[in-house]
């Protein structure tokens, strides 16, 4: 059996567990700091929109222990605005200049001998605000009469674009029916356990910076940081701590703080440390976008969808900052989801409002678009009278059609949506969901079952970011195209014969080291614990690319692919060495159980012997190059830059999710609860079922949060109404439903391991499945959920409105 045909060796638990569970993780706050390091605290705006009339630092500076108070004016000496993908976008500096534009926006930074005294300094600052009218709703902000966030820009619509695929006009003209829904998707966050942290130092001898930050990538943001700091890319050394306590996309946007703290360190001529606290995190980190949209389908009476029209109004907060407007790209590139929809017309606009600026949020536009598409499918079912599952099946791509090129250029690698849905239905039947629902309804309870079937694009093609530009802009002379996703892995046999792998993922507890050890162990026939894995990013010493990082569920595809390549290559090198030592051709050698054996013989060499001979007795080996270590890179296939019709393959792989949710609503209090959840997903090839289960379970609960509980809620004055965990409600263990998690995998023909990426999964599909279930629970009221979160007052209005 070839190594690639063997199953991945498994262990119970993870290699990382011993250090993480016994309190020996090394997070950014655990790092030792140099003597003289100052601690930063931010003064943040208490207004949603206001002019800064003046900042009086004197009382703050008079406090013993406060060393400096820095505002945008001070930092401007060493820090420029952070460049945006959209060249003409209003300036973003990470700190307010003449105006504040959202509650929580940094206004000043106090540096003190410890965080306590720095906060005393913040309390002592006298900041004069002149309040301005605020706007927080995306449609209100688009009006010509809306308060302008950036006067010189002239409008709050900071970016817009149109996309047309196939022939939507004809499809809509000829449609037997047009079904449309208006939807609102809310603004919420990922709430990782660990908040942002930065420790920065300026090196005058090289005019460079050393910045420790719990940054998850994408490293395409590194040039953005370097440009703002006015130094070449090579002069910003970024070190990611060994452990990050959760990220979920959120820690992509720590980069502005890395810039601010680094600039403080330069001006103060001392290292500066900042650990974000929870209050700051809710107000001032980043969130997913909220979106108002209208989506319409041109259908036949049998429910088949021929075209989609979509109008997206996306709230990116008070500033458009890189990598936005990428938030809308999944809605373009995979607008057809798992369905055969050959035409589409999409208009997308990003609008500025007096709310927290946005960024990646576990799904990064996935949950917004899946909510739209799946609500639309349920609406089609309602209006045609066709069963919700049947409508989906009639539109599903069939297994025989893969690989399938969609009208947007997305190249779906593999899939078997019908059978995956069938597997989910098996769980539904064996757990007697429908019987349970009927029984509870007979007792007078409001119970519903909902469904969502979605495609999960993973390992994104950086080229999709350039869909923000028009084809004309991309065709201009001097424009540099973007495409691909790739990463490195390094593997070595150390002098004692032990395998060591080096990767740089900026992981946040997903178990990357374990998965990598499994890939390598499989290649050499070893146990998982026989392989050491170092996952570390120091941009000075770790090979990295501008796509490096943990996002878009890319790890298993890209890093896994690099590790597989490196392992195979190293095995090849070891066979060459062994062939000399054993005096047989290298194609007669097999590696299994960590030993190199001559086929059909009992002659063998252990890895230890081989390593020893190569290290200690190198001279006796022939002059051919002898490699005990290998660096390999892996770039996903089929990823080009967008063409002149805005077509691009959005991602390296396309998984699938079939989700069911059962929801109960208390008829007297209108409190909704997700009772049960079924998730049957296609991840291509599962490297580690435990890790996958953990990701999906976490995603389900995150999706429950988005559907029912979590909401970064601003009033019409831009005041944050959920500024602490009293009001920003994360689901706890008590709110988690019973979960049945299973697989129906179809290998990817395009990836090194056949894997498809897993991580964002049900965080994207659960809001749609839960809305679908609430519709079913409230079926007698003939109402439909079009807005999240589904709160008790919202449910009451649906019910009361129907009566």
């Amino acid at each position: 059996m070839l190594p690639g045909d063997r199953p991945f060796p498994q262990i119970e638990g993870r290699l990382e567990d011993a250090r993480l569970l016994f309190g020996r993780g090394r997070y950014i706050d655990d790092l030792p700091v140099a003597t003289g390091t100052l601690h930063a605290a931010f003064a943040r705006s208490s207004h949603g929109h206001a002019k800064i009339a003046g900042i009086d630092k004197s009382a703050a500076l008079a406090i013993d222990g406060v060393v400096a108070v820095l505002t945008a004016a001070d930092l401007g000496a060493v820090l420029d605005p952070f460049p945006s993908i959209v060249r003409s976008a209003p300036e973003y500096r990470g700190i307010a200049t003449d105006k504040v534009r959202y509650v929580g926006e940094p206004v000043a930074i106090v540096l003190g001998r410890d965080r306590y005294v720095a906060e005393d300094g913040v309390s002592a600052l006298e900041i004069d605000y002149e309040a301005l009218p605020a706007v927080t709703d995306v449609d209100a902000a688009s009006q010509a009469t809306a308060p302008l966030l950036h006067e010189s820009f002239g409008t709050n619509i900071v970016w817009k674009n149109q996309y047309r695929y196939g022939d939507p006009e004809t499809a809509f003209d000829n449609a037997e029916r047009i079904v449309g829904v208006d939807l609102k998707f809310p603004k919420y966050n990922s709430t990782p356990l660990e908040t942002y942290g930065v420790i920065a130092e300026y090196l005058p001898e090289t005019d460079g910076y050393v910045i420790h930050g719990n940054f998850q990538g994408p490293f395409s943001l590194m040039p953005v940081l370097a440009r703002a700091l006015r130094v070449p890319d090579s002069r910003v050394r970024v070190i990611v701590p060994q452990d990050i306590g959760g990220s979920f996309g959120n820690k992509a946007m720590v980069y502005p703080y890395m810039g601010l703290i680094a600039a403080c360190a330069r001006l103060a001529e001392r290292p500066v440390k900042w650990i974000e606290d929870r209050a700051e995190h809710l107000l001032g980190s980043a969130s997913g976008t909220d979106r108002n949209s209208r989506i319409e389908a041109a259908i036949s009476n049998d429910g088949r969808v021929h075209a989609i029209r979509m109008d997206i109004r996306e709230n990116v907060g008070a500033y458009l900052r890189a990598p936005e407007p990428s938030c809308v790209m999944r809605s373009l590139t995979t607008f057809s989801g798992p369905y055969r929809i050959e035409s589409g017309a999409i208009e997308a606009a990003c609008v500025l409002t007096n709310t927290l600026p946005t960024g990646l949020n576990r799904g990064y536009g996935g949950q917004q678009y899946m909510f739209s598409l799946e609500r639309l499918m349920d609406a089609i079912a309602r209006e045609t009278g066709i069963d919700r599952l049947e409508v989906r099946r009639r539109n599903f791509l069939k297994a025989a059609e893969f690989p399938y090129l969609t009208t947007t250029g997305s190249y779906y690698d593999s899939g078997d949506y019908d059978n995956c849905l069938d597997r989910a239905l098996e769980h539904l039947r064996s757990e007697e969901w429908e019987g349970t629902r009927d029984k509870l309804r007979a007792e007078g309870r409001l119970v519903g079952i909902g469904v969502a079937t979605c495609v999960h694009s993973a390992a994104s093609n950086i080229g999709y970011v350039t869909l923000a530009l028009s084809p004309e802009e991309r065709a201009r002379k001097g424009y540099n195209a973007k495409s691909g996703t790739n990463d490195f892995a390094h593997i070595a046999l150390d002098p004692s014969g032990r395998l060591r792998v080096q990767i740089g993922t900026a992981g946040a507890g997903q178990g990357h080291a374990t998965a990598v050890a499994q890939i390598v162990a499989r290649e050499f026939g070893l146990g998982v614990r026989d392989v050491d894995v170092i996952d570390r990013i120091d941009t000075e010493t770790t090979p990295w690319t501008i796509t490096t990082g943990t996002y878009a569920s890319r790890f298993s595809v890209v890093v896994g692919g690099a590790v597989q390549r490196a392992a195979v290559k190293l095995a090849g090198h070891l066979r060459i060495i062994a062939s000399h030592l054993l005096d047989v051709p290298d194609d007669q050698l097999d590696i299994a159980d960590g030993v190199i054996r001559v086929r059909n013989s009992n002659r063998s060499l252990s890895l230890r012997q081989l390593a020893g001979a190569t290290q200690w007795n190198r001279g006796d080996l022939p002059d051919e190059s002898v490699q005990l270590h290998v660096s390999e890179s892996y770039g996903a296939s089929n990823l080009r830059s967008p063409d002149s019709e805005n077509r691009v393959n959005a991602a390296a792989t396309y998984g699938f999710m079939a989700d069911f949710a059962m929801v109960e609503i208390d008829p007297l209090t209108f409190v909704p609860r997700v009772l049960k959840y079924i998730a049957v997903h296609d991840v291509g090839v599962p490297i580690n079922p435990q890790l996958i289960r953990g990701q999906i379970a976490g995603g389900i609960v995150h999706g429950v949060g988005g559907a029912l509980y979590e909401h970064l809620d601003y009033d019409e004055n831009g005041q944050m109404m959920s500024a602490s965990f009293m009001d920003y409600l994360c689901p706890t263990a008590s709110e988690a439903p019973e979960m049945a998690i299973d697989h129906f995998d179809t290998q990817s023909p395009f990836t090194a391991l056949g894997v498809k990426g897993c991580g964002e999964n049900s965080a994207m599909s659960a809001p749609a499945a839960i809305a679908s279930a609430v519709d079913d629970a409230l079926a007698t009221f003939k109402t439909s959920i079009s807005e999240l979160p589904i709160t008790p007052p919202a449910i009451w209005r649906h019910v009361a409105g129907a009566q």
Binding site: D120, A279, L668, V671, D713, D715, S734, P792, W796
Partner: protein, 293 residues
């Protein structure tokens, strides 16, 4: 979220406590469980000059159940109430109420005196005490005095506690031996403060007639409200469903309810009626009200 600096004073007995309070007055906050005070200090919502830590004052930590009076010391932890057998037999409303207070870890620290002194609008123990018409005993270096709970809790986060006073204990006239208690609360998640809560204690006489009824509600009402008028309507009636429903509707309409950004007034009123009806059904008829599992 670091607090401003403060003086820390630890007291070991009630005399030292009273003296410290007399000394600092409204410049000091009392630290018992700290479950509300400490977060408020970390947010710098409050920044007292001094903290008087009374956790060692053992004489304030007790549950004393007599023939017809129950005394609970101010420092009695919620967990102590939750685990108390005698309380579950003699005053079941308190037992049922306390299980709704946050999570067990919080109940290990939080105290009766602490929750009463804060008078947070969604709090369960103040609602139970208001329903039972408890008395609150307050002490300072000047004097000891007893206030009815209606004169102690003045509104949301507002009590009659003077700056130099501490709560000694609460006194409850026990309900009849065979009373049934119901505490129904609705919240977004398990353990959250109540959106609406209702507390009912009912007892029938030997002829099976409803002879004792105490009703209280909270959630958007400011202070918890004792629904004395509804008690009268129901006790004097034939307990028909219509009578109770109309009575609930009329009396809830008659109390002051505050809406906010998250829960508008009309929604709160509607849900108050719902939880109250559920609690009344359970206490008066012993019906198994099924709550969402």
């Amino acid at each position: 979220m670091k607090p401003a600096s403060f003086k820390y004073v630890e007291v070991a007995d009630e005399d030292a406590l009273a003296a410290a309070l007399a000394n600092y007055g409204d410049e000091a906050s009392l630290l018992a469980g700290g479950q509300s005070l400490v977060p408020m200090m970390n947010f710098r919502v409050v920044s007292p000059e001094a903290i008087i830590d009374l956790n060692r004052v053992d004489t304030l930590s007790y549950i004393d159940c007599g023939e017809d009076t129950l005394r609970i010391g101010a420092l009695a932890r919620h967990a102590m109430l939750e685990d108390s057998d005698v309380l579950s037999r003699r005053c079941p409303l308190l037992s049922r109420a306390v299980g709704n207070v946050a999570h067990r870890a919080v109940r290990n620290r939080g105290t009766t005196g602490g929750t009463l002194a804060l008078a947070y609008p969604g709090a369960e123990i103040p609602l139970a005490l208001m329903t039972l018409d408890a008395d609150v005993v307050l002490r300072s270096q000047r004097e000891e005095r007893k206030l009815g709970i209606r004169d102690f809790i003045l509104g949301s986060l507002d009590t009659a506690l003077d700056a130099d006073e501490y709560i000694r204990h609460v006194e409850i006239k026990l309900p009849p031996a065979k009373s049934i208690a119901s505490f129904v609360e609705t919240s977004r998640r398990h353990g959250d403060f109540a959106i609406a809560a209702a507390a009912v204690v009912a007892a029938r006489n030997d002829d099976g007639q409803l002879a004792y009824l105490r009703i209280g509600v909270s959630g958007g009402t400011g202070a918890p409200v004792r629904m004395a008028a509804l008690e009268e309507i129901i006790i004097g009636s034939d307990l028909a469903d219509r009578v109770i429903a109309d009575g609930v509707h009329e009396t809830i309409d008659g109390i002051e309810v505050f809406g906010d950004h998250h829960y508008p007034e009309d929604f709160r009123r509607h849900v108050l009626q719902g939880v109250l009806r559920r609690a009344l059904n359970e206490a008066i008829f012993g019906s198994e009200h099924r709550h969402v599992q």
